[in-house]
Subunit: 269 residues, 2 copies
Amino acid sequence: MSSAVKTIALLSHFSPARPEIGLSELCRLAGRDKASTHRYLQALEVTGFVEQNPLTKCYRLGPVVLQLAQTRELTVPRKAAADAVISRLAEVTGETTHVSVLSGATVYPLASCESYKHSTRVIIDVQTFPLHATASGICALAFGPKELLASASENMQAFTADTPTTIMALERAVQSARETGFGRSDRWYEDDVCSLSAPIFDQTGQFAGAVSVASVATRFTAELDRSIQWHLAEASREISRNWGGEIPETVNYLWDKSTQKQNIMEHSS
Amino acid sequence: MSSAVKTIALLSHFSPARPEIGLSELCRLAGRDKASTHRYLQALEVTGFVEQNPLTKCYRLGPVVLQLAQTRELTVPRKAAADAVISRLAEVTGETTHVSVLSGATVYPLASCESYKHSTRVIIDVQTFPLHATASGICALAFGPKELLASASENMQAFTADTPTTIMALERAVQSARETGFGRSDRWYEDDVCSLSAPIFDQTGQFAGAVSVASVATRFTAELDRSIQWHLAEASREISRNWGGEIPETVNYLWDKSTQKQNIMEHSS
DNA sequence: CCGCATTGGTTCATATTGTGAACCGATAGT
DNA sequence: ACTATCGGTTCACAATATGAACCAATGCGG
């Protein structure tokens, strides 16, 4: 691994939950010695990626990240387009919603929105969505480039008792997503969290990301499941359109079928 | 220089004006060979800092920068606080306004706002504000840590025919800023651009950044100058308050004096 | 259709750079 | 006064970065 990657990797330890980190603490988090970590931090400091709180000596993210984000958003204005959609999605479903994007072999969070309908709700605070254990990840495997499966199977960490840890279990989940048009994670990544995801497609016609609803497992009824599916399909259609893409007919067919089935069920009930 | 710094430095070549860059082009911009540049880019790609446009093979900023920016903004929510103020400032002055922050020995842009009052206006598209040639930089030298002067005098590049390039000229500018409470740049960085800056102070009582108005030189009259000074002082007071700081009495006194002098002039006119 | 230029990307012997245990001085709690 | 922690530095040793030369692919003018 290049030293540049090791240096840059330090940045991933900063998060809203842990925005300021001292040298020793960062050593522990990164699993490295003080000398190296300090050198890395100096490299990040001269480039403006971190700055040191002069009072506490702790490090925090620096101002250049704001510049870069602005350029990224002007280049690929995906966040702004997704924000409004997931906000509405959170409102109608009453659950936490989020959008993730695929870059290389990794699914990154792009934006999230919490609903205030319930006093308990899911908080999205992850750096990357594991391919094998999250609804977004399953979506990526089912509708994204097929090389992803290799990456996914390399590291199938068990986050909960239910996380799929065998290739067979993973392939079953992926197959199910391809048949329904939705990724699904039932207490696979966090206890008590059920998630549903719909794939998003961009101007190249490729899988570009996923829009998801994360619900507290205890209130995730079959009815809510159906409702979320319908709204997810709508949300994905809208975001895909905003990103310059459109839903492939094969996927559209799956969603329509799923919706029709629901209508039938609703009529018969 | 560490390889990490060299790697990270590649990111600074991405800007709204040049959001996607090919390998060869980046080699030229960075002044390095293809092999190294390619290795750097791979490091940036695996960490999600850049991604490759699959069609053009060009590289562009990746999604992680958005994550980092979000964390930064939650940690140090300076941009949001400044945005509203510079927007109003742009409206009342009719000129382009911006806010910069000091991190280490570098002044970075944080936010900018263009006025639509005139058909010609200044566009802010810089990565860093040179200490010796911009109003923000002079502010930093005049009111920031005194070590900055050494950094500034190390590289006094002449951007225009009027850029101060001697220590003496620079010290004169800094002295003037200390006496008036405003940084000033009269066609020092770009031809036809006059800028005025007021220092911003944060919760530690230290200089934290500057708020500036950049005007097209040909319409920069003495009257506009006075008007901008008054509004800048107000803007700085407000942003400093938002950032948890307050204006030192010494600076407040300078601004008040400046305003009073203006009143006297207005009365006598 | 050919030749020339340019693209993104790779190889490998060489030389620079990264590494981390041990260390220092400062601070804080017992 | 003792101990533990903090941020930060040193230096012999080991790994990593470097870049000229090299492919293969693409585009373009004649």
